[in-house]
């Protein structure tokens, strides 16, 4: 199995993605005024330049990928394939934290994030991921880390963090 940086579909995808992001920047730049005030350089100049540069780079990368792979590839570092299973758990933890923090409050959403992300990291290290008991231990650990930080901010520093209740304790 060769390193994932040598897989041809991934290289084509990267070239196409660079081209697409250049197009996205151009779409965002078309509504901007080109010149303001007395200077000819306005807010649209740099987005157009970067969009053009990304389009050229993306096209060149795509051409290289379709004509025999990237040139001057270095030795692949790290593992041969990405660990998507572990990444899914860690990403689930982070996304759950981001979406729930305003509803469930800082402490509970951080505890949930720790429980999910630590499970993913354990899978990445090829350790047994553990069952419900391990998830509970991780959630309690997350609570013990997040709660003192939350109390420090709300009680000592008087900075408002999103909480489940308005008391400043949970």
């Amino acid at each position: 199995m060769s390193h994932s940086s040598r897989s041809r579909p991934a290289q084509v995808l990267i070239g196409a993605a660079a081209l697409a992001i250049g197009g996205l920047l151009a779409w965002g730049a078309k509504d901007l005024p080109a010149a303001i005030g007395y200077s000819g350089v306005g807010p649209a100049v740099l987005p157009w330049f970067i969009a053009g540069a990304l389009a050229v780079c993306g096209a060149l990368l795509l051409w290289q990928a379709l004509r025999g792979g990237y040139r001057a590839l270095e030795e692949g570092a790290g593992a041969e394939r990405g660990d998507w299973h572990a990444l899914a758990w860690v990403a689930a933890g982070i996304l759950a934290n981001a979406s729930l923090i305003n509803r469930a409050g800082f402490v509970l959403s951080c505890a949930l994030c720790v429980a999910l992300a630590v499970r993913g990291l354990r899978i990445a290290e090829a350790k047994p991921a553990g069952g419900p008991r391990q998830v509970l231990i991780d959630a309690v650990t997350g609570f013990l880390i997040a709660a003192p930080a939350f109390w420090l901010f709300t009680k000592v520093l008087a900075i408002n963090l999103p909480g489940l209740t308005a008391t400043g304790w949970i």
């Binding site: 509504d31 901007l32 303001i36 740099l46 970067i50 990237y70």
Partner: protein
Amino acid sequence: MTDILGLLAGGFATAATPVNLLWAFIGCALGTAIGVLPGLGPAVTVAMLLPITAQVEPTASMIFFAGIYYGAMYGGSTTSILLNTPGETGTMVTALEGFKMAKHGRAGAALATSAIGSFVAGTIATVLVTLFAPVVAKYAVLLGPPEYFCLMLLAFTTVSAVLGKSTLRGLTALFLGIGMGLVGIDQISGAARSTPVACPSSSTASRWC
């Protein structure tokens, strides 16, 4: 010059009291922990901890913030050397060299070099800034837009030192980074780039809303 030395002596006498030294120690410890975490920096930490000045005396809290700053600038090197993940923007170069040392089994030497170098360089730099700040400030205000443009050109040309084997892929990464930095409000004109700001009732931009 002599009144500067007199004031400095008074400052050292104030800073050498046990309470202020304790605040410096706490600041450095916390700052090192903050520097290790990628994403959190000394500026954000000091901004979040500013309300402490309501309870703690101003001199002690300034010493605390200075400790956080110095600690954070050093702490970024720990993850740079051991995990190849820079904790601060200033420690990105440490990650390039220190991680290679760690892979050859010399992580301890790298960490010690970083710590001792940070101490020596910080001390010398603080002394130089104290002595030469008024002189340098006279020239700093003379920098205008042409000088800032030249600085940006210098930054982009020195990026070529870290592009690696493939110039094309290095330049793609550079342009992707600049593209990400363009999203938001333009500082000069106030125009919103690639960001929906207000929802107009009738225009093409209303598709964003």
